[in-house]
């Protein structure tokens, strides 16, 4: 709570600095705005930045290290009996102290040493926040004073402010990049730990997937087999079914909407299609599991086929429906990017509308359409919820769409649901699967974007 008060005070100081800086600029210019290097507002921003940024940095720095330093001081004050404890137990004691200090537990249940330590903890905390408060306010005021002194007619406040904004924008953009990098690296390192336990070739080429490892050596049937081929095959099967549904339907939709549909129909049906894209995948999932799967089984049985109640077909078809808007909107973009002059050229030669579409527009838009389809494939491979609910969990190595299969994403979910030990191959297998998934979708996306970009350059 104190932090919020501090932040509020700092914000108020910053705002005041802005007005003071602007006023100062006007004063040094003698009221003649044209004499200033920059507009008065920039001097205001300049002073506000000097007030806010150093103080904010110190605040963040302080908060980041405060708990560690305070804990260190508290630990050293403890009797030797505690400091010689192993690290994990020491952490438990420390937790107890912090909880006691924050009055989360009552003092009656703990020893006197811990009560004393909690008091010390509270004292240090009070001193620390007082120090922080003083430091931040001083820095803010000091920064503002420094900037105030530096404001003069020749000063290039605009350049400095804009440079600061530029740096701020750069930091924002790198946050996303570094987060992605962090995810990739963590997946990579955990996967490497997995591959120390299970050889890479066993994982990529093994035909049996049974990740339950034995907790006790006398357990039966929990040997743990990490051959991921059934998962890859299942993913491929579901994705192929999905694309068989989505690619033609999406493409035909795009052709109709962009070439044939009247503006009125187009204006109504495009938003409707986009609603399809807005349905949460979990809703598609139970639609697949509770409506489509029984339907598929009913039809199959009436034809005398044996159909699993959780089939690749049901999951694939529903997933295909889900990615129709994806394919159709990307294809629509590609078709609309074909210049009108090409259509005119074909019409002027006496081509009919369908000839123009088949022989000129689709070939010209094909790279863009292919890029869109590839993006849709990577979406299908990464899709989780529908297959979790409708495709089943059994790692069958089969090409029969009527049987239940499982996919990479489903297995990642099942491996990580429930209680985990973080050094068993069962848990780490999820990272290996994630790495494969990431590599495949990244490759597909790179290819797709390359194709789309190459195609865009052709007309612009």
């Amino acid at each position: 709570m104190q932090i919020f008060i501090l932040l509020f005070i700092l914000a108020a100081m910053t705002v005041i600095s802005f007005y003071l800086g602007r006023q100062r600029a006007l004063t040094v210019a003698g009221g003649n705005v044209a004499a200033l290097n920059s507009l008065p507002g920039y001097y205001g921003y300049y002073m506000a930045l000097w007030c806010g940024i150093p103080a904010l940095f110190i605040l963040m720095f302080w908060l980041f290290f405060e708990s560690a330093i305070v804990a260190g001081i508290v630990v050293t004050s403890l009797p030797d009996a505690f400091t010689t404890l192993p690290e994990q137990q020491l952490n438990l004691v420390l937790n107890e102290i912090v909880n006691l200090a924050k009055e989360n537990i009552s003092a009656g249940q703990v020893s006197s040493e811990i009560t004393a330590a909690a008091q010390l903890y509270n004292q240090i905390q009070t001193v620390s926040s007082g120090l922080l408060f003083a430091l931040v306010v001083t820095l803010g005021a000091g920064g503002a004073a420094f900037a105030w002194n530096r404001i003069h007619v020749q000063q290039r406040a605009r350049n400095k402010v804009e440079r600061t904004v530029l740096i701020f924008l750069m930091i924002c953009s790198t946050i996303a990049i570094f987060t992605t990098l962090g995810i990739v690296l963590s997946v990579l390192f955990e996967a490497m730990r997995f591959f120390q336990m299970v050889p890479l070739t066993d994982f990529l080429l093994g035909l049996e997937w049974s990740p339950q490892t034995a907790i006790r050596s006398d357990q039966i049937g929990s040997s743990g087999a990490f051959g991921a081929v059934p998962l890859f095959a299942g993913t491929l099967l579901v994705s192929v079914i999905a694309m068989t549904v989505a690619a033609p339907l999406g493409l035909m939709t795009a052709i109709y909407l962009s070439e044939y549909a009247s503006p009125a129909i187009r204006a109504r049906s495009k938003p409707l299609l986009e609603i399809l894209a807005g349905i949460p995948t979990v809703v598609y999932g139970f639609f697949a599991a509770l409506t489509v799967a029984p339907l598929v089984r009913g039809w199959g049985e009436s034809l005398g086929l044996s159909v699993s109640s959780e089939s690749a077909l049901a999951a694939g078809v529903v997933m295909g429906i889900m990615i129709i808007p994806f394919v159709s909107s990307l294809s629509d973009d590609a078709i609309n990017a074909v210049p009108q002059s090409l259509r005119d050229g074909a019409y002027a030669l006496g081509a009919t509308q369908s000839e123009t579409i088949k022989k000129v527009i689709i070939p010209a838009a094909l790279p863009g359409i292919a890029g869109g389809v590839l993006l849709a494939v990577s979406r299908a491979i990464g899709e989780t919820m529908i297959v979790v609910m409708a495709a089943g969990l059994a790692a069958n190595l089969t090409a029969n769409p009527l049987e239940s299969v499982t996919t990479v994403t489903v297995q990642i979910v099942t491996l990580l649901v429930g209680d985990q030990e973080f050094d068993s191959p069962k848990t780490l297998a999820a990272f290996a699967l994630g790495l494969v998934l990431f590599a495949v979708t990244l490759t597909l996306n790179v290819i797709a974007l390359y194709i789309v970009r190459k195609y865009r350059e052709q007309y612009e």
Partner: protein, 298 residues
Amino acid sequence: MSTVLEKPLNFSSERRRGERRKHARAAASSATVPREDRQTVGAAVVENPRIRCTDINVHYGSKHAVKNVTLDIGQHEVMAMIGPSGCGKSTFLRCLNRMNDTIDNCRITGDIWLDGLNVNDRAIDVVPLRAKVGMVFQKPNPFPKSIYENIAFGPRIHGLARNKTDLDEIVVNSLQNAGLWQEVKDQLDQLGTSLSGGQQQRLCIARAIAVNPEVILMDEPCSALDPIATAVIENLMSELCAEYSIVIVTHSMQQAARVSHRTAYFHLGDLIEVGTTESVFMNPLHQLTEDYITGRFG
């Protein structure tokens, strides 16, 4: 043959241009039709025309883009249409092969007769019409296919070739007639879009020729080209008019004077004056025409 000049005019030398101004001033002192009068003057009608347009009106929604235009296109002549931007000349040109069909809320009335066929009759099939009346656009628009496929597109959709040999022959002839054969004969499988702008435009002309049209419409065919490529296309036009009637919309009066036999001047949707290119440029009958060609307007 309609009234055709022996040789298109040549205004290349300064001296001639000076003379023309003198002529124009002389004409102005004589009685020209006043600016307010929007009746077509000159010879809009010729004997035995290729295309005869009567009372063409075009509306885009509430905009009256072409007003009561009556105009003949003669056989084997190059007809130039000039006039300031937005005067309806391109719109009129696009009526001749029904390209305005692709524009919503465009309404065309009047008759356009071509070989006993009323082009503007909604009931006719535009596919054979557009094979008869080819079109070349302002910006070269080759298909993103090979040079060969660009030319073969038209004959294929109209079924003009019985076999591959026929098709090859059509492609070669079209490229030869468009003056492009020597430059591309070794690279027929390259993309049409990889050619230079002038070559692309000649490819588009070859593509139009390939379906054996009677009339070729050209909508500012040289405005995206450099002067050398323009000169090549202009020479080509004077060769092509031996076989085809050519209607060209142009913003360049010099170009109209160089390539055309007859010239039509459009002004805000009205056809103001039609006549032989010589008479329109040397001795304009209408004050608006004179204003335009002497550069006082537009």
